[in-house]
């Protein structure tokens, strides 16, 4: 598909193109091989920023943090779409152009291929010795016998053969499927893209933290985070629900990986819809539960200490399991407790939980298992900023308008609690108790329509790729005519992929034909490497 300039009619100024010609020229440019190559390399180049600049859709937390650290770059990057490279207009433009170029390329090629498929091998060129790869032999058998044998040998080597008795040649061609593989590969790329688009448009992905013993039913309000596709329709969400009955975890207490956990199993009871019978499933990493088209994954776990806050009046202002997020492999976890209903002032706690508490220059966790659970938190009283209507993260304590509770000596007052104990806040502000410990599971729920389309597409692409790489389209011609002192046989070949080893194939064919070099010194011309 090389780009050829359209010749302009004489009446126009040189170089002037009519709109139709311009469009044709632009189209030819777009579907040319060179453009496809440039677009491919551009696509690679354009994908790079997304691996270096944090991506909002991949890790929103990291992105927002990066943005805080780079206040000058952020607006520039924002305008360039660098925080979501893979759906930015310029990235889309490149791959859409590539797709158009691909379609524009494969449609005409398919037509050409369709015709070529049924065509007989082309007649032998008049002078085979002009072809780059050829050899000449002299034999005793008559020409007809040589040609008959050549037909047989080439047929056996799975060539499509035509013979011309009167002109004395055999033409053979093989490797028709290479182009088919090539076309299949390119078509499959479109299929993959279709599958990918289906997932991106109609799918969704959401996450939820569920307390062990708690449950979840599949509707939007229950998710902690939810990323819908652009055409996602929530009425189509499958009405399943599940309970996390139990969670097993095995901690390694010895060996090199001591402290690491393995064999996480979350025991679920689920119903495919509210009226359906209960079913059970052991949810593990790498073993998602599929309900209809939706899949449920276990992707994290952690602790939820049961904390009770009593306010200055002695009333319970907060009580319940509170989700703490693990910070390191020892499950030192970070959390916030807010008691907006505490009187006379609101009470907020922020700090850490240690499943196996120890102290050495500060509190730390020795081990991920809850062997000696303890809390260490600081206390704030006053306005926690929860009443002005702006939504707040449950993991952030707004201390702007609150005051930190201090000890008599002016140091920060810390609530250091072993499980089952209670500490009184200074000046009768209330008390905090650590009553128990629960666990939570982070469950990821996703629906990815089109995933099998994409998978099928890639598999087909691979099949096409293999065909296009390893099937060698070749033409071989044999010419035989009576000459002085015997029959002169010329054998020549052409490799249409440009990467095949024609001399080797010719040598094999000649050997099968029982040919011996006429002039031993004459070597087959070998093309020299270099741009052709």
């Amino acid at each position: 598909m090389s780009a050829t300039l359209v010749k302009e009619p004489e009446t126009r100024r040189p170089g002037e193109l009519g709109p139709r010609e311009l469009a044709r020229w632009a189209w030819r440019q777009l579907v040319s091989m060179r453009t496809a190559l440039i677009l491919l390399l551009l696509l690679a180049l354009a994908a790079i920023p997304g691996s270096i600049v944090p991506q909002r859709d991949v890790d929103s937390l990291k992105t927002s943090r990066w943005q805080e650290q780079h206040p000058t770059l952020t607006p520039i990057y924002e305008r360039l779409g660098l925080f979501s490279v893979y759906d930015s207009p310029w990235f889309s433009a490149i791959y859409l152009l590539l797709m158009v170029s691909l379609v524009g390329c494969i449609i005409p090629r398919s037509l050409v291929y369709f015709r070529a498929m049924r065509a007989a091998p082309p007649d032998a060129p008049r002078r085979l010795t002009r072809l780059p790869d050829h050899a000449t032999y002299k034999v005793d058998q008559p020409a007809t016998e040589v040609l008959a044998r050549a037909t047989k040998v080439l047929r056996r080597r799975r060539y499509r053969v035509t013979t011309s008795e009167e002109d004395g040649w055999v033409a053979a061609e093989r490797g028709y499927l290479r182009e088919a593989g090539n076309l299949l590969f390119h078509l499959s790329v479109l299929v993959v893209l279709l599958g990918f688009a289906l997932g991106g448009l109609f799918g969704y992905r959401g996450g939820v933290i569920v307390l062990v013993g708690g449950g979840f039913s599949n509707n939007l309000t229950q998710y902690d985070d939810f990323v819908p596709g652009s055409l996602f329709d929530q009425t189509g969400m499958e009405p399943f629900s599940f309970d996390v009955d139990d969670f097993d975890i095995e901690w390694l207490t010895e060996g090199r990986a001591q402290g690491q956990a393995r064999s996480f199993v979350s025991h679920l009871t689920y119903r495919t819809d509210p009226g359906a019978p209960d079913e059970e499933y052991d949810l593990r990493v790498n073993h998602p539960l599929a309900i209809g088209d939706t899949e449920i994954f276990l992707i994290g776990h952690g602790y939820a200490p049961v904390i009770t806050i009593r306010d200055g009046n002695g009333d319970v202002a907060y009580s319940g399991p509170t989700i703490f997020l693990p910070v390191d492999p020892t499950f030192r976890s970070f959390g916030v407790v807010k008691a907006p209903d505490a009187r006379p002032t609101q009470i907020g706690l922020t700090g850490e939980f240690y499943p196996t508490y120890d102290f050495n220059d500060g509190p730390y966790s020795l081990f991920g298992d809850a062997l000696n659970p303890a809390l260490s938190m600081t206390v704030f009283t006053g306005d926690l900023g929860m009443d002005n209507g702006t939504p707040q993260s449950v993991y952030v304590l707004d201390t702007d308008a609150a005051t930190q509770v201090e000890k008599a000596d002016g140091q920060a007052f810390r609530v250091d609690l072993a499980m089952g104990s209670t500490v009184e806040l200074p000046e009768g502000a209330g008390s905090v108790s650590f009553d128990g410990l629960e666990r939570w599971n982070k469950i990821q729920i996703s629906r990815t329509p089109g995933k099998f389309v994409a998978l099928g597409g890639v598999v087909l692409a691979l099949v096409g790729l293999l065909a296009s790489l390893f099937i060698r389209p070749r033409r071989v011609w044999v010419r035989a005519r009576a000459g002085e002192g015997g029959t002169l046989v010329e054998v020549a070949g052409l490799d249409r992929s440009g990467n095949g080893d024609v001399p080797a194939e010719l040598a094999v064919v000649a050997e099968l034909l029982g040919l011996v070099r006429a002039e031993p010194d004459e070597r087959t011309n070998q093309r020299v490497g270099g741009p052709t």
Binding site: Y86, L252, V285, L325, S393, T448, S468, L469
Partner: protein
């Protein structure tokens, strides 16, 4: 034997393999240095090049004095023999590494293990095919590459045997990693041949020294192409079929634009461009070699380089020493807690 014994054995075997490879390299260097002043012209002129065959292997010492010739040939054989021995010791190191883990597993859990496995594949592939393809001339290069990668892995990438994280217990570990390492090995070899092509292209007519015994340009080009043509479908299988299937099972989404995935994709695109340029635009020789080298660069950047640029990768086996383990004090509920079970593969 206890796991600790196996681990010691593995470390010793890898060190020993490195030593044996070094001796093999020395043997080949002796071979090549004594061939340094010998012209290939007389040799190649008297031996007709078989059509499509491989050009003068260094074993042709027709013009070398009889003593010198046999000595050179002996060192050549010694080199191959030592390389074979090195491969066996290397294999012991790999097996012991797998047995040192509890439970026993394939030794493909971290960068050190990948590199040790990858170098093993290169060395074993070379030893198995050296006779068939007359690859004697490749010996110094293969040994240098294997040796330096082994040194890199022992010095910088080493990490003690540890059980895999939960997400790695999957049959896909075997399939995905083997195909990725295999493709990487073949691409790397193809890259080396492309470098050789570019070097030889500057002095194509040289008749002495190492370059003269490297196959002619056309064959170098073709061999490079074949290696790439082999590696590309394997790479496609690794990063676009098995990778997404596993990612879907473990991380709930088959394509996450994870930095490793992005760079695997970039590498795929660059090599696709290479094959595309060769088959349709007729690029051969120098221009194709440059594209191949671009591919090699992205491939290795993906394996090692990207670890230093991005800390968000879920391929956490690759946490580079300089990269602090990013620990998120999650401030928004929309963030998966870092206590992820599946945080690595």
């Amino acid at each position: 034997m206890t796991d600790a014994d196996w681990e010691t054995l593995s470390n010793q075997a890898i060190a020993a393999a490195g030593l044996v490879y070094f001796l093999a390299l020395l043997a080949h260097l002796v071979e090549w240095s004594s061939l340094r002043k010998v012209s290939t012209r007389s040799v190649s002129a008297s031996v007709p090049v078989a059509a499509g065959g491989v050009s003068t292997p260094p074993g042709d010492h027709a013009t070398v004095g009889r003593d010198e010739g046999s000595r050179t040939a002996m060192f050549g054989r010694l080199g191959v023999l030592l390389t074979g021995l090195g491969v066996l010791v290397h294999l012991v190191g790999l097996l012991a590494r797998g047995l040192a883990a509890d439970p026993d597993r394939v030794p493909w859990g971290n960068m050190y293990e990948f590199t040790v496995s990858g170098t093993f594949m290169i060395a074993a592939g070379y030893v198995l095919l050296v006779r068939r393809f007359a690859w004697q001339w490749l010996a110094p290069i293969v040994l240098t590459v294997v040796l330096s990668l082994l040194m890199v892995s022992v010095i910088w990438l080493y990490s003690p045997v540890a059980p895999l994280t939960e997400a790695l217990y999957s049959p896909w570990l075997v399939i995905h990693v083997v195909s990725a390492v295999l493709a990487t090995a073949a691409f790397t070899l193809g890259g080396i041949l492309s470098v050789l092509y570019l070097v030889k292209e500057r002095r194509p007519a040289t008749t002495t020294g190492y370059l003269a015994r490297v196959p002619e340009l056309r064959q170098l080009d073709q061999m490079a192409y074949r290696l790439h043509a082999f590696a590309f479908p394997v790479w496609t299988f690794a990063v676009l079929i098995t990778g997404p299937i596993w990612a879907h099972q473990a991380w709930s989404s088959y394509w996450n634009w994870d930095p490793k995935e992005v760079w695997a994709f970039i590498t795929w695109v660059v090599y696709a461009a290479y094959l595309h340029a060769r088959t349709t635009a007729g690029w051969k020789g120098r221009r194709a070699a440059y594209l191949a080298l671009l591919g090699t660069a992205t491939l290795w950047f993906n394996f090692i380089g990207i670890n230093y640029f991005s800390t968000t990768s879920q391929h956490s086996y690759a946490s580079a020493p300089a990269v602090e383990q990013a620990v998120d004090l999650s401030v928004a509920p929309s963030v998966p807690p870092p206590g992820q079970l599946s945080g690595s593969s």
